[in-house]
Assembly symmetry: C2
Homo-oligomer: 401 residues x 2
């Protein structure tokens, strides 16, 4: 694993079992881990200004190569000083490679599995062909033919100027058979090398590159992928691909994957971010998580809450919330909980007023930030197991320590 | 004109020609005039929390009887402590009577005239009958039959607990002939009396009632209406109905209407709020303005700006804004202007990201608040004409004094 102070250094500050607290030192400042990374898929976090996201305590957001390639295009972002300048965000940025999106278009199916639905794939494009060279697809914006390949993805990410670029991979779906998954994983490893070759020659000096582990739900393929990626000379590691049908399979897949990775490597779990998943991922030694859940749930009137029996959610649109004078989650410092009761949130969410989505995004991202902050503090105190147990038993993050 | 310190007092603090600076003392605090009133039609200002609207400097918002009657219903709002408690807004509230909306459904046409398009009439209902008793209409929400009459409107507004209720009137459209307008205006006056009778017996002691001037574009009918409403014992006066086909006719109608009203009365111009209209209305001695323009424009990528030749607007979605590194309006203290350039705003507005609407609402309401603040200060300094001239010549509010 590379450790280049011009690019990225991952320092582990405290350990508690396999869980660890650390800092990713990026050219745009530190990111305290374990960290949840809000999605700024198209260059904005749903309904929020960059300043507001920073005010919540977040130190990194995730932008997406696929969406930003389609619109507004990487050259325009580069002219704005990269994605940092474009979206007025001075802290760290990680960019997804676009692999997940173009393969979701091709394979379908990923959406229904453990990853949750496809990440903001409104107005879907169409995949025209998967080849060794890369993937051709049609723009959802204007129907033009676009290409993503290892080199193209890295070039786009170089223009975006993210602090961490992800390599271009094939995200194999759950329904792919072992043979397909094995061949796909091998191609992902060849693409990894092409990404690193391109980046070594043309990439920005300050941009780190994370490799992506594939291999589906197969222990041997995951192990091979861990070995291939760990040996390739990346700056950190993301775990991608299908993690199975349900949370038990996810635990199993992560259980036979993570131990095959270098302990000291920064580890990112792609697209996972439910409350219980985060607690289990942190316990396994994972450091960074991104997920559409907090922002996507908000659009549908779902609030994160200390309710382990209800997937840690409140559906604020349910009739039982009419007349409820309680806040969404007592003690939560977000603007929705500080100022409004559930009765009002039920009404504006059902009315689909813009203010509703915003208040719910504010709540969900505030809740998530507190959850991760609590985890970091618990690890430093050697009390992560207790913290996690309390969270999983229904304590809110601010009362779980 | 009533002046009841338990309910509402209007104090004129400074005069400059016919323009005046004043304070509406309401049970929920003072409202400095001339004032622009943001719309919280359905109990929220588009994309904004109540705390944010207060933070911008606004002291009153407008809620709508028609929309709040349909959903969530006035009883539910009353149980929340009235509209103030329901939407967590501790400052003043004025409520529209619903007359404009039910007659827009019946007459159509109002939308295309000087009033601008119908105020947030998404998912229109249907008018079933206009009678002396009132107006029956079908709910846009569930198709149930609802009634608005003078008594019903006042009862709903009593339950909403607004600081200022408007009487239930018929808003006659521009295309109505003189005879219809004359008969309609007479009915509006009968309804005014029924509103005051109901309110005197059942209304909240602390709620003020504003009468509404009708009479279309006919000088004699407007004069009669001014006399009838001024003599009726209201707490203030709103000017409603069609003001003609264009800004010249609006100036003409206001010119033969306003002088027929008591100088000391608080005067509210319904549904008007373009920058030049505000300057001309203030010069005539009008005190309060409400309008959907700042929030509605935001949804379509239109920003208020010191551009007299372009209706004081920038269409941020135009191709010429691509690559433009300037803020929307230099010197504007809003979050959109402080943090982002036009290139980015062009992109997110065209992408219809939620953040775009919010940033544009923030800009437009900030701009409007500064415009009115500047007008108040100019009146105090005896320089309103100069201020208005500079605004109409293209100065931003913060440079026009």
């Amino acid at each position: 694993m590379r450790q280049d102070p011009n690019r990225l250094i991952f320092e582990i500050e405290a350990r508690d079992g396999d869980a660890r607290r650390g800092i990713l030192q990026t050219p745009h400042g530190p990111v305290e881990t374990p960290a949840f990374i809000p999605l700024a898929t198209k260059g904005s976090v749903r309904g929020m200004s960059s300043r507001e996201i920073e005010g919540m305590g977040y130190e990194m957001v995730l932008g997406n190569t696929y969406h930003l390639l389609v619109a507004p295009g990487p050259e325009r972002i580069a002219e704005a000083g990269g994605l940092h300048g474009f979206m007025a965000w001075d802290k760290a940025i990680i960019t997804d490679s676009g692999g997940f999106q173009v393969f979701s278009l091709a394979h379908g199916g990923v959406a229904e599995e453990i990853k949750g639905s496809n990440r903001n794939m409104h107005g879907q494009g169409k995949t025209l062909g998967i080849e060794e060279e890369g993937v051709r697809f049609r723009s959802y914006k204007d129907g033009s033919e676009l290409m993503l390949s290892p080199e193209e993805s890295m070039q786009v990410q170089a223009l975006l100027g993210s602090d961490i670029a992800l390599v271009f991979d094939e995200c194999t779906p759950f329904h792919a058979d072992r043979d397909y998954t094995a061949r796909s994983t091998e191609r992902t490893h060849r693409w990894l090398q092409r990404c690193l070759d391109w980046h070594g020659e043309h990439g920005p000096d300050k941009q780190a590159v994370f490799g992506i582990i594939q291999g589906g739900t197969h222990a041997d393929l995951r192990k091979e992928s861990c070995e291939a990626v760990s040996a390739a000379g990346v700056d950190g590691i993301s775990i991608g691909g299908t993690l199975g049908r349900d949370k038990e399979e996810m635990a199993e897949v992560l259980g036979f994957t993570v131990p095959n990775l270098p302990v000291g490597a920064a580890k990112h779990l792609l697209g996972i971010g439910e409350v219980d998943d985060l607690m289990r991922g942190i316990a396994l030694g994972l450091d960074v998580f991104d997920c559409a859940v907090p922002t996507r749930l908000a659009r549908h009137g779902m609030a994160l809450a200390p309710r382990p029996d209800k997937r840690f959610r409140i559906d604020i649109r349910k009739p039982r919330e009419v007349g409820n004078r309680e806040p969404l989650v007592p003690g939560c410092p977000c603007s929705a909980c500080a100022d409004y009761d559930r009765d009002y949130l039920n009404y504006i969410s059902k009315s689909e007023e813009l203010t509703a989505v915003r208040l719910m995004v504010d709540h969900n991202l505030t809740y998530m930030e507190r959850l991760m902050r609590g985890a970091r503090e618990a690890i430093s105190a050697g009390e992560f197991t207790e913290y996690s147990d309390r969270i999983l038993a229904g304590a809110p993050p601010w009362d779980a320590r």
